[in-house]
């Protein structure tokens, strides 16, 4: 890893999950949030997004931020970038909390110099492919959800303009995602943008009478309010519940993971729990729910990305509360609105390592996925088998470092591609944070967690050395040729404390 990179500056190498936190404070200086003033009874409402953007006085080299709570239905990022491009703005840094395949349409602006750098927790689809192919002059930065908050505090991400979608807002900019025709749930990632951006535009398709309740973002941070016809595709924003997978292999992995959790020593009254929304990961919740009912265990809180499945568990009394930084499906928003124990939290409270204790620090059990995991338990959730960026760091490293028991669930290979292997292409979460890997072909306990291994053995759960598992997988699939890469670094992966845990090279085509 180089010590410095043009477009980013000095790179501080990762030296352990808690090396920086142990000090008890953050050494980097923080920047003050802007202080603004508005005359009484002045009008914030703009005729159009274009009008609001013009009033914000956009400039070359600016940083524009967005949240990704509209999931796959997001059209706002594209609309806003299009307007900025039409205004002739160049050299924009795009700081979105995450980018998904819904953002594929902004690819042309990567190529014409409109957008020249990206900060995001995840990048997928055409964008991830193009970035790995080296389309952008400056390296992109992948951060965790907690790490993003730190980067805004330190001014590493200096937001000039935050454009925040809301499913309901009043004319002063008190806004929420909890209700309205495009209700999407929590606005957890947007809070920090509203506090720190020099200018903030709230964009909504639903203006409500003053005051808008609940106030996910509040008027004292909002410069402009725009009513648009549509913030995106409501069928993808507000559509449906997340279903538990029916794939037999995912269910088998989930069943094994639930056994591991049951006998880990962590599944006790008052435990806290987080699962991802992906196949096997969410399916674990199904089996844990069953075990909790059988053993009449009552949990303390569900954290994180929240699905309607988590809401069901809250309503059944299996957990006392949900802390919701991001809603994975729109069915969640009703609960967020009506249930006082379903609480919206900002990303800093969720996962920022530099405060007096984020909620991931209180996690007992987290179940996470992986694109790849190596024999040192390092996890890749960002680059795919071709070397393209096609995933998200998200809360992976945040929750893994905080939880007492971090379970990674994934198949040992997908198609013919080994998942458990000697070396991952990109490290996002360090192996020291992972306690146990559960695959359809074996359960591997991190050798550092001797007590966990004993607990599992006592319960008759057979474990396997991860090196043996990787060899077994290679015998089945054959030895995959490594991804061919060039020297040029196109992106860096930040650990949650701001150090660089890995870099992403341009792929050779």
């Amino acid at each position: 890893m180089p010590s410095e990179l043009i477009g980013i500056g000095k790179l501080e190498p990762f030296e352990g999950a808690f090396t920086k936190l142990k000090k008890g404070w953050m050494e980097e200086e923080t920047v003050p949030p802007p202080v603004k003033a508005k005359m009484p009874h002045s009008n914030k409402v703009c005729d159009s997004l274009r009008d609001a953007i013009i009033r914000s006085n956009p400039k070359d080299g600016m940083t524009v931020s967005f949240h990704h709570h509209l999931r796959g239905g997001d059209n706002l990022v594209f609309e806003a970038i299009k307007i900025l491009a039409e205004l002739g703005i160049k050299d924009i840094t795009l700081a979105a909390s995450s980018l998904t395949t819904a953002h594929d349409p902004i690819l042309p602006y990567f190529k014409d110099g409109t957008i020249t750098q990206i900060y995001a927790s995840g990048i997928r689809g055409e964008l991830g492919k193009a970035l790995a192919q080296g389309v952008m002059p400056k390296p992109f930065v992948i951060h965790s959800h907690g790490g993003r908050v730190r980067s805004v505090h330190t001014g590493k991400i200096k937001i000039d303009l935050a454009i925040l979608a809301a499913s309901s807002s009043d004319i002063e900019g008190n806004a929420t995602g909890a209700h309205g025709p495009s209700a999407f749930g929590s606005m957890g990632y947007a809070a920090i943008d509203s506090w720190y951006a020099k200018q903030v535009i709230v964009v909504t398709d639903n203006i409500v009478d003053y005051p808008c309740v609940p106030q996910s973002v509040t008027q004292n941070y909002i410069d402009y309010v725009v009513k648009v016809d549509s913030i995106g595709d409501p069928s993808k924003i507000a559509g449906g519940t997340t279903r538990i997978t029916k794939a037999p292999m995912d269910l088998q992995i989930a069943r094994l993971a639930a056994q591991v959790i049951e006998h880990s020593g962590e599944l006790e009254d008052g435990f806290s729990f987080q699962v991802g929304a992906g196949g096997a990961s969410l399916a674990v919740a199904k089996y844990i729910r069953k075990i909790m009912k059988q053993r009449t265990i009552k949990g303390s809180f569900i954290l994180g990305g929240v699905t309607s499945y988590g809401v069901d568990m809250l309503n059944e009394g299996l957990f006392r509360s949900i802390f919701d930084v991001q809603s994975f499906d729109a069915a969640v928003s009703t609960s967020l609105m009506d249930n006082p124990y379903h609480i919206e939290i900002p990303a800093g409270l969720y996962a920022n390592p530099f405060n007096c204790g984020c909620m991931t620090n209180k996690l007992d059990i987290v179940v996470l996925g992986a694109l790849e995991i190596d024999t040192n338990f390092n996890v890749n959730v960002i680059t795919g088998s071709e070397g393209y960026v096609r995933g998200a760091s998200g809360g992976h490293s945040d929750t893994a470092s905080g939880a007492n028991l971090t379970v990674v669930v994934c198949p040992s290979f997908r198609g013919r591609i080994p998942i458990v292997k000697e070396k991952v292409h990109t490290i996002v979460t360090p192996g020291e944070s992972i306690d146990v890997l559960v695959t359809e072909r074996g359960i591997c306990v991190n050798p550092q967690r001797k007590e966990l291994k004993q607990n599992l053995e006592k319960a008759g759960i057979v474990t396997k050395d991860i090196v043996d598992l990787a060899k077994e997988v290679e015998l089945i699939t054959g030895k995959a040729k490594p991804i061919e890469i060039l020297d040029r670094i196109v992106g860096v992966v930040e650990y949650r404390d701001g150090t660089v845990i890995d870099v992403i090279h341009q792929v050779k085509e």
Binding site: S385, R414, G415, I417, A480, K481
Partner: protein
Amino acid sequence: MKLITKAQAGSFESSDVLIMVEPVVEGAGRIIELKSIVMQQFGDDLLKQINDGLDFYEINDVRLIINDKGALPPTISARLETALKRAAQLQTGTLK
């Protein structure tokens, strides 16, 4: 093995491979059109496995169109064997 007719085995499903066999005139050699979603990682292995299979059945003149969706080696062997035997009209069993 002497190939008599066009034949195929396999499917376009994930983790499977579709192999199409076509007899060609003697001396034409092995014409192999290989497409795979794991070309970068396993392209060479795939080609070697196919050639080893053709060696085993002593087939030197053939046109093969292979579309691989990440099949494991045993799957590839099985699909190749079946496709070749169908083309040679040697297959036995219920699918005869």
